[in-house]
Symmetry: C2
Subunit: 134 residues, 2 copies
Amino acid sequence: MLSQTAEYALRAVLYLAARGETGAVGVEAMAGELGIPPSYLSKTCQVLVRHGVLESVRGRSGGFRLALAPERLRLACVVDPFEDETERRHCLLGRATCSDQHACAAHASWKATSEQIARYFRTTTVADLQGRGR
Amino acid sequence: MLSQTAEYALRAVLYLAARGETGAVGVEAMAGELGIPPSYLSKTCQVLVRHGVLESVRGRSGGFRLALAPERLRLACVVDPFEDETERRHCLLGRATCSDQHACAAHASWKATSEQIARYFRTTTVADLQGRGR
DNA sequence: CTAAAATCGGACCTGTAAATCCGATTTAAA
DNA sequence: TTTAAATCGGATTTACAGGTCCGATTTTAG
């Protein structure tokens, strides 16, 4: 469903949200806790910083922290930087242009499901997932 | 949403369904029509034969045709052989075990959408998509 | 019977996502 | 002021899905 990288990003953000306002968390610690290759997580977090999802604190006792309150952070903001913009996964058969006007064979029947997926990522916030599961 | 290979499979099956009972269609013709690399489509079709979705006719004027009536062919049958069995895409965060009992943070909120996706592929048939779009 | 046209299927190549490595830079504690 | 600990960021390597190639086999048209 999500690329490996997008999944890492989501897990990292969820982890930081759980920490609340406890200052920045180092990549090494986070990676160890989440079971993600540290140097890869480092890059992934850097991308999230560029997209305004995280803030980085450099130097000693630095690390990463959320840039926004969890209530304002939608899952789409976390995941989108790692999904190909062009293929908004709207067409099941991989058409470049697939709309109500120029529909592929699957368009009509797939539409409802496709829209529910998009709505999930657009409306669900990080706060909505906090405190659930473990 | 679907892997490239699964998408090829679905398009090929839809193409054969549109042909109706006009005998087997050669890979070369099908690939040209669909814009799929011929030798790759060949392998993809071979997998579908092994899974009972297609039948192959060897020798001169051979090719592939549907093994079942379109009404009996569910999209899941076409697509599943090309998706990893283990990660049934049920867990957004990539957990090995994620269920109502052992839930990840996203489980509860993701469940409805996840089930709608599964239901779509399980219940929609090739016949449902026939004659739609182009 | 022969030859052409097709699938079969294994070995090989390739492009890209995933992961690693390492030096430069920044900062705070000692 | 020095040093340790952290991010930054580009170059490189690895793993695997995607794609190619080709010889063997099968079958039918002529």
